[in-house]
Amino acid sequence: MAGEKKPGEKAPSEKKPGKKKTGEKKPAEQKSIQKAAGDKKRGRKHHASRNPVLARGIGRYSRSAMYARKALYKRKYTAPETKIEKKKREKPRATITKPVGGDKNGGSRVVKIRKMPRYYPTEDVPRKLLSHGKKPFCQHKRRLRASITPGTVLILLTGRHRGKRVVFLKQLDTGLLLVTGPLVINRVPLRRAHQKFVIATSTKVDISGVKIPKHLTDAYFKKKRLRKPKHQEGEIFDTEKEKYELTEQRKADQKAVDAQILARIKKVPQLRGYLRSTFCLSNGVYPHKLVF
């Protein structure tokens, strides 16, 4: 009876993997003959489970026993090495041979590229406490007020162009606003303005199709400082670039952008005159009561 039971049990268990096997083979065959051939090369017949089930979820053999039974010691595969791993594996050069002068010196020496430190301080620098969320400026989140959208007319409040009404183009990577007069209207060139020092009016110019050149970034607008201290006392304060020089590129960029915007400004009646005028407060005018 026991003997009869066992083959009986085994048969249904063998049937299932058998079914699986045929099931797997059929779609494989349907897909392509080559794939089936490839399958056959590797491990064409999937063996039944080598771990008989004692109860649901519990096998007869442990993990290590199964390792041996499945002969995984013979079957170890690694994924192909990626480029990044390859680069990591490449070791940098440790030494370099340099020529050496002099008669009896042997012509060259082998010199280490990365040398041992020549000084160790008496006390080590104490370990800094962990902090989180302290990001450098370049990783800060840039925000833009909802009232400022491309094409909005802004009123500049500080700087040499204070009180002037100006058209907003886009926000740059550092968060500053790229803004233009246009130049022919109010002598404000392509310039950066700070969001906080600007009033956003509700007047908007339709700038939907305007293409702003990609090279207008913060680096383009950043003030240039030449630093070449020649260790001389006299005239250090003069040679710094005090005089701003207008480059041809700036003129070209200004023309390119303004041409597109002027066309759109002309369509709105009285907008040109509006941009030419400056903002001012007078008696009885209170900014908190004004609707911009």
């Binding site: 007319v153 009123i155 009016t201 509700s202 007047t203 009285q270 907008l271 009561k289 004004l290 609707v291």
Partner: protein, 175 residues
């Protein structure tokens, strides 16, 4: 001395409170300080309201005291109070004030330009008439002509505060 009285049917304008800016009709007087008030066509439920927040208008409706809302509504619509109110100077002033408060920066610029243009035209005409007058004055004639044109200019001032100063500009340019 007093022309508007608190009476049944008097239409009042509410100046402050939750129903500020709406019109109501006085239905009944409760005591020295409060009235039963109802504004079916202006969105005010029938309620007691202190006299202090009411400002009397020139309109009076005809319905008996403590009349129900349906009667008040009928009377209101018969007299067409909503239209009459919109036609009064009081209501127009309120509207003009609201529009002025909503003016954007660009609108203010446009109004400034329109005013300036208008004043220039007026000044121009004045100067012309003054010249005429001074010439004719030398010939002993009375200068009643400048007065007539000034009166024509004044009614235009009330249109000034509208948000369409451009259309006025066109009118003035045609002048």
């Amino acid at each position: 001395v007093f022309k508007r009285f608190v009476e049944i049917g008097r239409v009042a304008f509410i100046s402050f409170g939750p129903h500020a800016g709406k019109l109501v009709a006085i239905v009944d007087v409760i005591d020295q300080n409060r009235a039963l008030v109802d504004g079916p066509c202006s969105g005010v439920r029938r309620q007691a309201m202190p006299f202090k927040c009411m400002q009397l208008t020139d309109f009076v409706l005809k319905f008996p005291h403590s009349a129900r809302q349906k009667c008040v509504r009928l009377a209101w619509e018969k007299e067409n109070i909503n239209e009459k109110w919109a036609a009064t100077r009081w209501a127009k002033k309120i509207e003009a004030r609201e529009k002025k408060a909503k003016m954007t920066d660009f609108d203010r610029y446009k109004v400034m330009k329109a005013k300036r243009m208008r004043n220039r035209i007026i000044k121009h005409e004045m100067k012309k008439l003054q010249k005429l007058a001074s010439k004719k004055g030398k010939k002993l004639e009375k200068p009643d002509k400048p007065e007539k044109s000034e009166k024509r200019e004044k009614p235009e001032k009330s249109e000034k505060r509208e948000k369409a100063p451009k259309s006025e500009k066109a009118q003035k340019a045609q002048k």
